[in-house]
């Protein structure tokens, strides 16, 4: 594995591609590799692009990459498309929009399918993005399909979050506004060459421009940003460091109009995301998100096992006969599920606590 990591660091493309296949699957080496990747990365901001299918995310990324290459940025792209729940197959249709970069040695594009993993963002995407970082791609762009709720998913790993809308795609501002506010640094209205785009852009402007996003505050605790200590003393004009403005931009991804302005905005957001305190809190948030997803998965599996145990029939009866409340019963099952987990791997109990040292 050390050799694999070294080869990726040295820029061996085939090793990078193979490692991505590894982290996109399951296998004995994979956990170790993933842990190793997590330890070796975290300095490069990831830019997330989300929005309804067909809105032009891939075309927009293609245009951005063209500009990024002009300023010699080695750019990595992870593009995620949904797996068909019926067949288990997937049409990975993002790369076809980016083919002009296919033979550029300083661009690496990888397509992934969600493979039934929750939300638009697959766990594999996080590790593939880390692999790109390890291979010195900077910035790393991630495309996911999202409408409303799913956007929260990309936000938990992206450091700069772009929500893309377009006429006919995501017009329903009110519906998605709540979800957008949670996550967006930039809202892009694409396809501004189309006449219907004007109305949408106006609507998005009035919905978002000037609104100060409260996203950071509602995310995971953020002990490293200065605002938790110092901002109280400032006047009522003070906007804490973690509270951001949502930028709204209209573009034509296909012709490239407006894309330069978008890149400027993204570069500025990228710069902010690199400030050491901010960097650390963003990275902490990403890793905490990973821990949370993994812990939730284990807990749910354990809970399912507990709930399928026939001896719990009696408890169900007690609930149905009014001998206890649902809250009590649920608490009991939750505790049992946790106990089961502890029994399976008692060592795990020692990990988080410093007191056991």
């Amino acid at each position: 594995m050390d050799e694999l990591v070294d080869q990726i660091r040295r820029g061996d493309r085939r090793s990078l591609a193979r490692a991505m296949t590894l982290v996109d699957g399951v296998g004995p080496d994979v956990t170790e590799l993933k842990d190793r990747l997590r330890q070796s990365t975290g300095d490069v901001p990831w830019w997330g692009f989300t929005g309804p299918p067909g809105v032009g995310k891939s075309t927009l990324i293609d245009a951005l990459v063209t500009l990024l290459r002009r300023s010699a940025h080695r750019t990595g792209i992870i593009a995620i498309d949904p797996t068909s729940p019926v067949s288990g197959g997937a049409l990975l249709g993002d790369r076809v929009r980016m083919m002009r970069h296919a033979v550029d040695r300083d661009v690496f594009i990888r397509s992934l399918a969600t493979r039934g993993r929750e939300g638009g963002l697959s766990d594999a995407a996080v590790h593939c993005a880390r692999l790109l970082e390890l291979a010195s791609y900077d910035p790393v762009l991630i495309e996911t399909v999202g409408v409303g709720q799913n956007e929260v998913d990309v936000a938990s790993v992206a450091d700069v979050c772009v929500v893309v809308l377009g006429p006919g795609y995501g017009d329903d501002i009110q519906l998605i506004k709540a979800g957008l506010l949670e996550v967006a640094d930039v809202v892009v209205v694409n396809k501004c060459d189309l006449p219907e785009a004007g109305r949408l852009l106006k609507e998005v402007h009035s919905a978002f421009a000037g609104i100060v996003g409260v996203a950071e505050a509602s995310r995971l605790p953020d002990p490293h940003t200065p605002d938790s200590a110092g901002s109280d003393a400032e006047g009522d004009e003070s906007v804490s460091a973690s509270v951001r403005r949502v930028e709204v931009l209209g573009v034509e991804a296909k012709s490239g109009r407006g894309v330069e302005e978008l890149l400027d905005t993204l570069m500025e957001a990228d710069r902010v995301a690199r400030e050491p305190a901010r960097r650390q809190s963003l990275h902490d948030r990403r890793v905490l998100g990973e821990i949370r997803r993994s812990a939730m998965k284990r807990f749910e599996e354990s809970l399912d096992r507990v709930l399928s145990n026939p001896t719990y029939r009696a408890h169900v009866d007690r609930l149905l006969h009014g001998e206890c409340s649902l809250d009590m019963m649920a608490g009991r099952f939750a505790a049992d599920a946790a106990t089961e987990l502890y029994r399976e791997s008692p060592d795990a109990g020692d990990v988080p606590g410093e007191d056991s040292a």
Binding site: S87, G89, A90, A102, R110
Partner: protein, 135 residues
Amino acid sequence: MDGSRTKRILIGKVGLDGHDRGAKFIVRALRNAGYEVIYSGIRRTPEQIVRTAVDEDVDVIGLSLLSGAHNELLARVAELLREEDAGNIVLFAGGTIPDRDIPHLESLGFKWVFTPGAPLSKILSALDEELKEGV
């Protein structure tokens, strides 16, 4: 490695013809058969195809051609794949390829050559067979 991993296939179109209804039909059929499919779009160079296949670490490349230059273009893809040390990727071709050229293409490493009218089921079962034992 994990034999149950979802297999990935690149469907590519090399050459100058701009008709891709056939290629898109195959793309959808493969998706519906449970593969993860990447489509290159039309008029790609062998270099673009091979770069894409390597970066995406696909198991199979299927090339579709309706123009005449198949021997040259397909040979170039096979050659580049060997150069990239990616000879393990299964290659097949489909399109208006005269029967007399098929043995030559097979000798270049094309596992199957499907001519127009080849039933979809034949393509799917060939892939299925190959990828099942191929890991």
